[in-house]
């Protein structure tokens, strides 16, 4: 008991010392903008989009991926064909960042709280058929066309760096996987449950006579998406991402290309 208390006290003492030496008072420090961060993140996203467009065929590669996984589809779904992918052209804006003690951690953990706001159109369009496999496989099929887009996302993000072992995986795979007893630092993030995600679902159902934009379809899709999201990264669930080693190593060393560079001239 006493040893644990000592360890706990040591942790609080370390945290207080860090705050003191970085001139950060969690009570009085005002929130900061993250403009520099937004620029770097935007650059990264831009890079990703360029790559996606360079291959020119993000739809094809997604279709290939789906084809490879087609045996994992439920029996009532026919082959899924991707008809549209919109990777957007705007960037997320992070702002209003503060450092605080993690709630319920008894002042033993620090975290950053950041507002995030994204207004964009990230869309995925698919085409498939709902199959009736009774009385025989493929007895009847109901064609479905769907476009799901995220048009707005607003949330409060919690980020911390930790080696903490107080968190348990929510699935068995994570336990057996690389997460095991791996030492090192993890980036841990989660969204506040009061997030706002605006989705647009367009649907077209039927073979010759069609029904358009059925609200029930939209609510089925929205339910599945928010379930997926909440089960992964909304408090009290957190995402843990292992951070790579940052210690300077020669194999990670680069320098800028120049014309007068000896090694590049023949």
């Amino acid at each position: 008991g006493l040893e644990v208390d000592d360890k706990d006290n040591e942790k609080s003492r370390q945290i207080n010392s860090i705050l003191e030496k970085t001139y950060y008072d969690v009570e009085t420090h005002s929130s900061e903008s993250l403009d520099w961060f937004n620029v770097l993140i935007a650059q990264t996203i831009n890079q990703f989009r360029e790559e996606a467009l360079q291959k020119n065929n993000i739809i094809n590669s997604l279709n290939d991926f789906i084809e490879r996984r087609s045996n994992e589809l439920p029996q009532y779904l026919d082959q899924i064909k991707i008809t549209e992918v919109d990777i957007g052209d705007d960037f997320p804006i992070f702002s209003n960042c503060i450092i605080q003690y993690s709630p319920n951690s008894n002042n033993k953990r620090l975290e950053a709280k950041i507002d995030i706001d994204l207004s964009d159109r990230l869309a995925l369009g698919i085409e498939t058929r709902l199959l009736l496999n009774y009385p025989k496989p493929f007895s009847a099929a109901l064609p479905i066309k769907l476009t799901v887009s995220v048009v707005r996302f607003q949330a409060c993000l919690t980020v911390s760096l930790t080696t903490d072992e107080q968190f348990v995986p929510t699935s068995k795979e994570a336990n057996e996987g690389e997460m095991g007893n791996d030492k090192g630092y993890y980036l841990m993030f989660s969204f506040n449950p009061e997030y706002r995600m605006e989705l647009e679902v367009k649907s077209l159902i039927g073979a010759r006579s069609k029904l358009e934009n059925i609200p029930k379809i939209a609510s089925l899709i929205e339910y599945q998406i928010s379930k997926w999201f909440v089960e992964r990264c909304v408090e009290p669930r957190f995402q843990f991402v292992k951070l790579p080693g940052m210690w300077p190593r020669s194999k990670n060393t680069r320098k800028e290309k120049t014309d007068t560079d000896d090694s590049s001239s023949v």
């Binding site: 025989k136 007895s139 009847a140 159902i205 039927g206 073979a207 029930k216 379809i217």
Partner: protein, 299 residues
Amino acid sequence: MSVDIDWDNIHCDLSVNQGVKDFLNSRLQEFELPSYVNNLKVTNFDLGTMPPSVVLKQMDDPLDDFYSYLLEEGDISGEDAKDKNTDVQLLVELDYKGDMSIELSADLVLNYPSPQFMILPVKLRISDIGMHCLCLFAYLKKQLFISFLCDVSDPLLEDNKLQVDPSGPNFMGKRALERISLIRNIKIHTELGQQDQGEGSVLRSVGKLEEFLVDLFRNLIRKEAAWPSWIDLDFSTADSEAEDPEVEDPENGPHQPNTPSDIKEPSVTNSSSSTRPISTENTPIVDELRLNSNISLDD
């Protein structure tokens, strides 16, 4: 048509036709036969070459009636009943003018001039069945409910314009008799021996038998599958059922010692409570389901 139906694949499948035949035969056994007929049997069922047209009209949350029923049956908890997120109900317009046929055999009993005076074997053929009706398919908690609502030209629909309104006239309880019959037309043809054709009393009995069969057929649909009744297919244990190849051990009989006794079979039940006219029973579509799952395993 909204739904593409691969009719060629279905209609020439002997097992499907056999399954329907078995189902109809088991249903027939539950009907009490009048004094002038014995041994009524379905001898052949043919789905015909023309598919029904199925048009999707609406898609909603399932009606509360289905949840109430499952609650009453103890299949779900109150908590489950509130979660309708993954449940769905389709309202479809079913139009059928196909060449489906049902062949039956029966013994016609002539009770004139004396009781059981003569027994004549007859063959009957039901065909030209026409239906154009609204039908509900609700899928919730791994159970599929199928219920015929009304004919599309039912006057009760005029104000509602083919919409499903739980408080509307189609849902006012037992108003089956006020509705236009779900079966628009049906033809019955009887064959009997050449020498009996001239007998007036024979033909009278044939006429009565034909009338009886048409009524029976209409009642089967109306009482068993028309709102406020429905057909309920339970798929909640269909997976485990499909894995069970149902090998009959000649020594131990069909019950394997390692088969858990509490496995619920996919069953068809008619909605039943004090307000519903039909009694609850497990009916042989169970066999039909099982039959077909075995066939798919063999494939």
